[in-house]
């Protein structure tokens, strides 16, 4: 809503600095977005009179003018315009002035045009930032010759002379206050905020004799969607431009002036916040107006020249045969006001907000009218608005208004009212405002307090409970005058075990040098192809957005892996030498028969590192180990995935360099090197390692309780052992054999070398372990240690690993 301060001044004295107005009105609830003064870019442009005009000696289309600009001596200016005559009053941009040229400000200085001095410029409307809509008697491509509606005082600043200096304030009006989308509504707020008097008079008109019912019939077929319809008729209409003051105010409000009747309806809409419509009676067939639902497939060409197909739930204004307007949204092209219109029907009606909203949305045409109706207007104010329109017709001498009006479906209801208790309000707000002050605030806002109840004015459709009244009091009293207190009582708050566990996971990942990332929860279904998921994978069954912004963000992810890969790929394409990342985020898994999907928390992580040639599969495995260790999972097994692998994302991994993490036989994660094909799909040029771990499942298996074990009192014995076995024997099997053999006194088994090469048979490898043994009872003897080693060698031999 753009408010003209000049217009506001009709209804309330607002003689304070604009900054104070803006801040005060914002703090009482009508938020100012910005404000500005019209034409403030114009500098040093004044009214001048052409005293002499002669053709330019060196040009066949230019003229040399001598202008009186109120400086005593005449000023010579050369112009190329063809519409300037002697004695015309024109805007003169003097030497060192600023005007507009193609939307940008330009400086005008004196110079010479084909040898003749020119000390400035004569301006067109465009150079002032105006158009012929603002001054209909002017021409587009010529100098603006000031008409009789301008102040022709020579030397006067042009903005003052033509009324192009209003201050406009742009408001953000909340959806509960359609009444504030009007000059009078904001005047009321201004009066209440600053303690001023509101000067609104009931509009009246004289009218001519005549019975409107003989000229027009109105029938409301759907009284739910049209709560009131008032019509008036204006005869002997004289279509023409509206006066300057009206055009000026429309312009300041961001509405383009058209002609007196269209301008009147817009003027009333802006002033009273009530959309109106004007029909040419000639084109209302049968002189009857039917407010009814559209018929399926019915069409109308709206004022903007677009043909629109209507559907049954839409409300239309129809004549005997066809729709002439979409109710509350826009009128039809053929029944609108034209230059030869002689009889006008004014409509001021109350249409149902939700219905107008739905229609406007469906037709994709949000108009000034629909954006007021859709917030819900009350039926009572229709009348005032119509009266104002008729008054303006008489004031402008634009026609003769028939005295009687049609008023259909008017229900006189009790205004909205709720209990009034100053005590309750003070307790609710935490204030100590005297009752009298509350009543005074409410009355300024046109509420009435009577017998313990407060009655809302008609235009306040948003009042429904005591809290609403508390807000009215609070906002005028001033939110910032309410004290600041701390909630009484004590409360014990703590993070849940789940939250604590997730924090622990996060801390572990950070400590291992991975950076935390935040990715979108929605992905493209194409990402499933990118990670080479089989066509029938269950992960392709997604929660799908009906109205996505684009395919890229159209399905909720069922796996966190592509989100991590996107980040890895992006960093790789940015030529970042390394990228270590993790995210703890949700996956969204549809559940058969449930309304809402499951949203399990998953840890996705991965890296590439072009600065470290030693980074490999075992690096990411080390990270997984580190995490498990940090959250208290002592024993995990890593297995090459087989057909029982529960992670469908296994398709994204290098088949030979991928492991499923198993704890107590449960698969809780998968890690490995990215499949070269997937690398290619993402355009990643560095070997990449990724992993995913199921967090709630991990939490269940983790152990939070710890008991101290005494530190060893006796020394450990360490023995090294190298065995040769087939390539295919996994290290885990060797370790298992050693553990089995040395149980009881085994402290640790540490692999320190894997060798393949000349001294070993092809297809075999040599694996070396350092085995540390310790007894809690006493120092181990060599004999005890040797015996344990013999057992280990035996066990190893049983699985095909021989002492080297």
């Amino acid at each position: 809503m753009d408010l003209s301060m000049r217009w506001l001044a009709d209804y309330v004295d607002c003689d304070m600095p604009i900054k104070d107005f803006v801040s005060g009105i914002t703090l009482s609830g009508s938020k100012v977005e910005c404000y500005g003064v019209e034409g403030d870019y114009l500098e040093n442009v004044v009214v001048g009179q052409v005293k002499e005009i002669v053709p330019h000696p060196n040009s066949d289309h230019m003229f040399i003018c001598q202008l009186d600009v109120g400086e005593g001596a005449l000023v010579q200016i050369v112009t190329g315009a063809q519409n300037v005559k002697k004695d015309d009053f024109v805007p003169v941009a003097k030497h060192k002035s600023t005007v507009l040229h193609e939307g940008k400000t330009v400086k005008i200085t004196k110079g010479k045009l084909r040898g003749e001095a020119s000390n400035g410029m004569l301006c067109s409307l465009g150079e002032l930032g105006l158009s012929v809509h603002d001054f209909p008697y002017a021409i587009e491509d010529g100098i603006f010759i000031l008409g009789d509606d301008c102040d022709k005082t020579i030397g006067k600043d042009i903005r003052e002379a033509i009324g192009f200096n209003d201050t406009t304030v742009e408001f953000e009006i909340t959806s509960n206050r359609p009444d504030c989308m009007s000059v009078i509504g904001l005047a009321r707020e201004t009066a209440a905020t600053f303690g001023k008097e509101l000067k609104v008079k009931k509009p009246e008109f004289k009218g001519i004799d005549g019975d409107i019912n003989e000229m027009l019939k109105v029938k409301i077929h759907n009284t739910d969607l049209c709560k009131r319809y008032i019509g008036a008729i204006v005869k002997n209409v004289k279509i023409g431009p509206s006066p300057r003051w009206m055009r000026e105010r429309l312009r300041a409000s961001g509405v383009r002036p058209i002609n007196n009747f269209v301008d009147i309806t817009n003027y009333v809409m802006l002033e009273y916040g009530r959309p109106m419509h004007a029909f040419d009676l000639r084109y209302v067939e049968g002189a009857e107006i039917n407010v009814r639902n559209a018929k399926q497939g019915e069409k109308i060409t709206t004022l903007d020249g677009i043909e629109r197909e209507l559907s049954e739930e839409m409300l239309v204004i129809a004549d005997a045969k066809k729709p002439v307007a979409v109710a509350g949204v826009m009128g039809g092209e053929y029944s609108g006001i034209m230059d030869d219109t002689t009889t006008v029907v004014f409509e001021s009606a109350c249409f149902d907000g939700a219905s107008v909203a739905t229609t406007a949305k469906k037709l994709r045409m949000r108009t000034d009218a629909s954006s007021r109706y859709d917030k819900g207007l009350d039926p009572h104010e229709c009348y005032e608005a119509l009266m104002r329109a008729c008054q303006l017709v008489e004031e402008l001498g634009a026609g003769e208004v028939v005295k009687t009006v049609i008023d259909e479906n008017y229900q006189n209801e009790t205004p909205l009212n709720v209990e009034f208790s100053a005590d309750w309000i003070n307790k609710f707000l935490g204030t100590d405002i005297p009752e009298a002050e509350m009543i005074s605030i409410l009355e300024k806002l046109e509420f009435t307090v009577k017998d313990g109840r407060v009655y809302a004015p008609w235009f306040r459709v948003d009042i429904g409970c005591k809290a609403d009244i508390a807000e009215e009091v609070a906002r005028i009293y001033g939110y910032n005058s309410i004290p600041d207190t701390i909630i009484r009582g004590v409360a014990n708050a703590q993070r849940t075990p789940k939250q604590n566990f997730e924090r622990k996971v996060k801390a572990a990942m950070l400590s291992m040098g991975l950076n935390e990332i935040e990715t979108f929860s929605f992905i493209s279904p194409k990402y499933f192809d990118k990670i080479a998921l089989p066509a029938d994978s269950k992960l392709r069954n997604t929660v799908t957005i009906m109205n996505p912004l684009g395919e890229d963000t159209s399905v909720m992810r069922t796996t966190i892996i592509p989100s991590v890969l996107e980040v890895v790929a992006r960093n790789n394409s940015y030529r970042n030498p390394e990228c270590y990342v993790f995210e703890m985020g949700n996956e969204y898994i549809p559940v058969e028969g449930e309304v809402l999907p499951n949203e399990p928390v998953r840890l996705g992580f991965g890296f590439y590192d072009t600065t470290d040639s030693s980074a490999d599969f075992y690096t990411i495995k080390g990270m997984a180990d580190g995490l498990l260790n940090a959250v208290g999972v002592p024993e995990a097994e890593y297995e090459r995935p087989d057909e029982n692998c529960e992670f469908a994302e296994v398709s994204a991994f290098h088949p030979g360099r991928c492991a499923v993490i198993k704890i107590d036989g449960k698969q809780i994660g998968i890690i490995g090197e990215l499949h070269p094909k997937v690398m290619e799909n993402y355009g990643i040029e560095a070997r990449t390692y990724i992993g995913k771990i199921n967090i709630p499942e991990l939490m269940e298996l983790s152990c939070d309780t710890k008991t101290y074990k005494p530190l060893p009192k006796f020394p450990a014995s360490t023995r090294d052992l190298s065995v040769v076995c087939d390539e295919e024997v996994p290290a885990a099997a060797l370790e298992k054999a050693i553990k089995k053999a040395v149980s009881g006194i085994l402290e640790s088994v540490t692999l320190f070398d894997v060798y393949r090469g000349e001294q070993i048979e092809a297809g075999k490898k040599s694996v070396s372990y350092s085995i540390s043994m310790r007894s809690l009872e006493g120092t181990l003897t060599d004999d005890q240690a040797d015996k344990a080693m013999e057992k280990a060698i035996k066990e190893l031999s049983a699985i095909g690993a021989e002492l080297r």
Binding site: A467, R475, N480, N515, T519, I545, P548, Y580
Partner: protein, 339 residues
């Protein structure tokens, strides 16, 4: 004999000062003080002395011995420290060479800020509650006093899964679920991801984070709301922070307020950062609407409460002077490693 002893001492001392290699000191010790050393040789002749002379010479010999020992030790210390000095000098490093790389992971700036907000509220006795992101229309809108066609729905362009299921546009849905499941007193914050159909640009994202708070108890006032939020702002932005409360409209609160923070850049004068307003809009809040309480089975005649919602992105961007929201979701290492 006396002269002999004195001469040994003199010689020993002069020789000692000539020794500059610590290894030669042992040789010196043997020569003068060893079993076959000069001093012992002289002492062996003690027997020849008279009974009167013996103790005198003995005393002198002991003194000579201890003097030489002392001098030897002093020389040893001296040489040792000289040698050490030399070694330390030789081992000198260029301390300006780079340190060995240690990887430190960085928490995402959004999470850093979130954690700080959580700490403030935990301290005030607020539990942290989570809820589903894919939500029903009921919990996201209807129960929040926004029936179908409510004009306020327009301001929260929604992603729909089907007619009844959507991506939550606010974490207020979690508040409704909490009110249904817990009896007052309630003090919670519900942080999480929310979704609105806004195209990505410097200040918009279809996915962002909110932290919503809810307090329900007997006798909760708007003054409590103000005090709580003012405290939060001071904890987040420092004691000097100035905030103002401005009337606004939300369907689920009444009265409703937006909270503005005085612009850091211009201190309220108006500048390009605050669009000349002098204040930066930071969060929405209000007293829980009685209809919302009723909807959740809480009697508004007995209980009252307040609620608020903060955009995590907005406060994060403000704190770190991040001028483009896209950076938060791009996850460029060069960005993340700055926090």
């Amino acid at each position: 004999m006396k002269e002999q002893l004195t001469s040994i001492e003199e010689r020993a001392k002069s020789e000692l000062s000539g020794i500059s290699d610590i290894k030669l000191l042992e040789d010196f010790r043997v020569r003068f003080l060893g079993k076959k050393g000069e001093l012992t040789a002289i002492l062996k002749q003690m027997g020849k002395l008279s009974a009167e002379e013996r103790p005198v010479i003995g005393q002198l010999a002991n003194k000579v011995r201890s003097d030489i020992e002392e001098a030897l030790n002093a020389r040893k210390e001296e040489l040792k420290s000289k040698a050490e000095e030399l070694r330390l000098k030789a081992e000198r490093l260029d301390v300006t060479l780079p340190g060995k790389k240690t990887k430190i992971g960085r928490a995402h700036p959004l999470q850093v800020t979130l954690e700080q907000v959580e700490e403030v509220f935990l301290g005030m006795g607020f539990d942290i509650v989570e809820g589903p992101e894919v939500e029903t229309d009921h919990y996201c809108f209807e129960a929040l006093n926004m029936p179908k066609h409510h004009p306020a729905r327009d301001t929260q362009d929604t992603f729909y899964i089907n007619e009844n299921v959507l991506l939550r546009t606010q974490t207020s849905s979690v508040q409704i679920r909490t009110m249904e499941n817990r009896k007052p007193p309630i003090r919670i914050i519900s942080p999480g991801r929310v979704y609105r159909s806004d195209a990505v640009d410097a200040t918009h994202s279809p996915l962002f984070h909110q932290i919503e708070g809810l307090v329900i108890d007997k006798g909760i006032t708007m003054a409590d709301l103000k005090g709580t939020l003012e405290l939060l702002m001071k904890r987040l932005y420092g004691e000097e922070t100035q905030v103002r409360f401005r009337p606004h409209h939300f369907p689920y609160t009444e009265p409703s307020a937006e909270v503005d923070l005085m612009c850091f850049n211009c201190h309220g004068k108006g500048c390009s950062m605050c669009k000349q307003e002098g204040w930066v809009e930071l969060l929405g809040s209000g007293m829980v609407h009685p209809k919302v309480l009723e909807e959740c089975g809480i009697d508004p005649e007995v209980y009252s409460g307040f609620a608020f919602g903060i955009g995590l992105e907005r406060i994060t961007m403000g704190r770190y002077s991040i001028n483009d929201m896209r950076l938060l979701y791009e996850n460029d290492m060069r960005f993340l490693e700055q926090f």
